[in-house]
């Protein structure tokens, strides 16, 4: 089984992110692997354990994104590729998908491509389905259960109404949700091994495509208007009295 996992580097989810002079800053919070992509890594590693094969982590980013690939390697990826080029800045999701689809083709003979459900910086959740569409592969998004048998795969997908159970043929694209199961922590051995792996960098020329054209632009990023809220504390001499007063407040807000 040849498996690719697409991972993105993002500011840590606890970072205080603000805009200053038009630029997004996150203080001294670390850049980390997108938390959803850890689930993608976990799913990929489980498939490799069940079916044997290799797991390759791929990221589009600058030199600093090597750290995210090291994390994927430490979790257990066999190898990693950094896609880095001056032509790859401010990509919208369809441009990202074009590059990732080309990388997956270039790697060749890939059976499964894993993605996170969404990147927690742009919160788009579009790249997996877009990459699948470009490759002409089934998009098995929001997966929580994956079982491969022969060339076909059984997947449970999270939808608003519960789960949809589907079967499809490989190769396919998967995006992972949290109820797949907690991602593993890198082992000490894994971290040591990861620090020694050579990570090649591919430029656009190396991938064999021209710079993709982004059509979405974001001329302005702003801090959300601060919500001036002062909490009105409901008090009383006993729980019933408090409940009575709170019930009245809630019903006054409820749009009936």
């Amino acid at each position: 089984m040849k498996i690719v996992v697409c991972v993105k580097q993002v500011p840590d989810s606890t970072a205080k992110v603000v805009v200053e002079q038009g630029r997004i800053i996150w203080g001294d919070a670390p850049l980390v692997i997108n938390p959803w992509d850890e689930y993608a890594m976990e799913a990929a590693l489980q498939q490799r354990e069940a079916l044997s094969g290799t797991v390759t982590a791929v990221t589009i980013g600058d030199e600093s994104a090597r750290e995210t690939l090291r994390r994927a390697l430490a979790m257990g990826a066999d190898d990693a590729i950094l896609i880095s080029d001056p032509g790859l800045v401010n990509l919208d999701t369809q441009a990202t998908a074009q590059v990732l689809a080309a990388v997956i083709r270039k790697i060749g003979a890939v059976d499964m491509a894993f993605f996170g459900r969404q990147a927690i910086d742009g919160d788009a959740g579009l790249v997996p389905a877009q990459t699948a569409r470009l490759l002409g592969w089934p998009a098995l998004t929001l997966a929580s259960v994956i079982k491969v048998e022969g060339g076909s795969v059984h997947v449970e997908r999270g939808i608003e109404e519960g789960r949809q159970i589907v079967t499809a043929k490989l190769p396919a694209v998967f995006s992972m949700t949290k109820d797949f199961g907690e991602p593993r922590y890198p082992s000490f051995m894994g971290i040591r091994k990861a620090s020694r792996v050579e990570i090649p960098a591919w430029s656009l020329a190396g991938v064999g495509i021209a710079a993709p054209v982004s059509v979405i632009t974001w001329p302005e990023i702003i801090n959300p208007p601060s919500r001036e809220i002062t909490c009105e504390y409901i008090t009383g001499s006993n729980p019933d009295e408090i409940a009575e007063a709170l019930a009245a407040k809630i019903l006054a807000e409820k749009v009936l």
């Binding site: 992110v17 999701t93 389905a129 569409r133 998004t141 949809q164 990023i221 504390y233």
Partner: protein
């Protein structure tokens, strides 16, 4: 502007954010609703009643179940013939995925999970939250058609006008061999969908913290913890059902096994925006706030006066949830005449 609106549904039950999208389309001009499925003509009627001028109805056994490839190709076939200016989708799991694919098929971009939109002539600028709502971005798209997914409850739902009608056009489903097969569903049976809920009562780790509950004998430590949490959620559910609210949860409650993941609110769960969000025994970690900070009114019940949730709350009670919640449920039932 000539707008198409994708009506998202499950077995003929539309997700209400589809009607919100029709409302947005109407404010910009002519609206054509897209209804794909099998035996879904009543949805076309409902789309007219919510303001659609025309409905393109693709009814076919092959569209009985949602499958991304079959639905996206049906849409592509229609759009490539009579290109709309704007394609609107509700930001549901299916809507987001179809929008993503339509952008590839029609060689354009997607502006996703939009909470506001501004139109000057034919220039559209949207606003949407990023970084889990820590920032807002304004976006434009330089190519046509424009594809936008709208966040549920960010736009008003148009009034349904019984008997209103329009032009019904039957269109063909995509033919071809779409290799994905739907084997079935497991439904969560969780009642009101969180994203569409006007009210939500959410429980956190605190709901397991009642020393007065005596667990049944023979459970190990982990099982006792789960049992305690589930007992706590009985109180949360009672309150929710008194209000007709949906039930949410923090990640700590989900991870501990008190309640399934479908109920999780937050950065790695659902993003919700109800009129009233009642947080019970939830501390208000930043990742939880990412999922509910746009709620109109937040009510917090927590025994710790320093809990960060109070900073977002309009109303707060500092106290023991095991005393307050049952009393609140009783008080609400009484006031609502139940």
């Amino acid at each position: 502007m000539n707008t198409w609106v994708y009506v998202d549904h499950f077995k003929g039950n539309a997700l209400p954010s589809s009607w919100e999208a029709i409302g947005v389309g109407k404010s910009l001009g002519q609206v054509t609703a897209l209804v794909f499925g099998s035996s879904v003509e009543t949805l076309a009627t409902t789309a007219f009643e919510h303001g659609a001028d025309e409905v393109l109805l693709a009814e076919d056994a092959s569209l009985e179940d949602y499958r991304a490839e079959a639905f996206a190709t049906t849409l592509e076939n229609l759009a490539s013939k009579q290109m709309p200016d704007l394609l609107l989708f509700p930001t549901t799991t299916r809507g987001r995925e179809l929008a993503a694919m339509a952008a590839i098929d029609l060689k354009t971009g997607v502006m996703v999970d939009v909470t506001a939109l501004e139109v000057v002539g034919d220039k559209v600028t949207i606003t949407r939250p990023i970084y889990g709502g820590k920032l807002l971005t304004r976006e434009t798209c330089s190519s046509k058609p424009l594809i936008i997914t709208l966040r549920g409850r960010a736009f008003p739902k148009p009034m349904q006008q019984a008997g209103r009608s329009g032009k019904l056009t039957r269109v063909a489903a995509a033919t071809g061999d779409f290799p994905t097969r739907v084997e079935g569903y497991t439904t969560s049976g969780s009642g009101v969908s969180l994203a569409d809920a006007g009210m939500i009562v959410s429980g956190g780790r605190g709901v397991s913290n009642n020393p007065a509950f005596t667990p049944p004998p023979g459970l190990d430590e982990k099982q006792v913890e789960v049992w305690r949490g589930q007992q706590g959620f009985v109180l949360v559910r009672d309150l929710a059902s008194a209000l007709g609210a949906a039930v949410g949860a923090s990640r700590a409650a989900v991870d501990a096994g008190y309640i399934p993941y479908v109920h999780q609110v937050g950065q790695t769960g659902k993003v919700v925006s109800p009129d009233v969000y009642i947080a019970v025994g939830i501390s208000g970690a930043i990742q939880h706030l990412a999922g509910m900070r746009t709620s109109k009114v937040i009510v917090a019940i927590n025994k710790d006066p320093e809990a960060p949730i109070f900073r977002l709350a309009r109303f707060g009670v500092v106290g023991d949830l095991f005393q307050i919640i049952p009393a609140l449920t009783t008080a609400l039932k009484k006031k609502m005449g139940k």
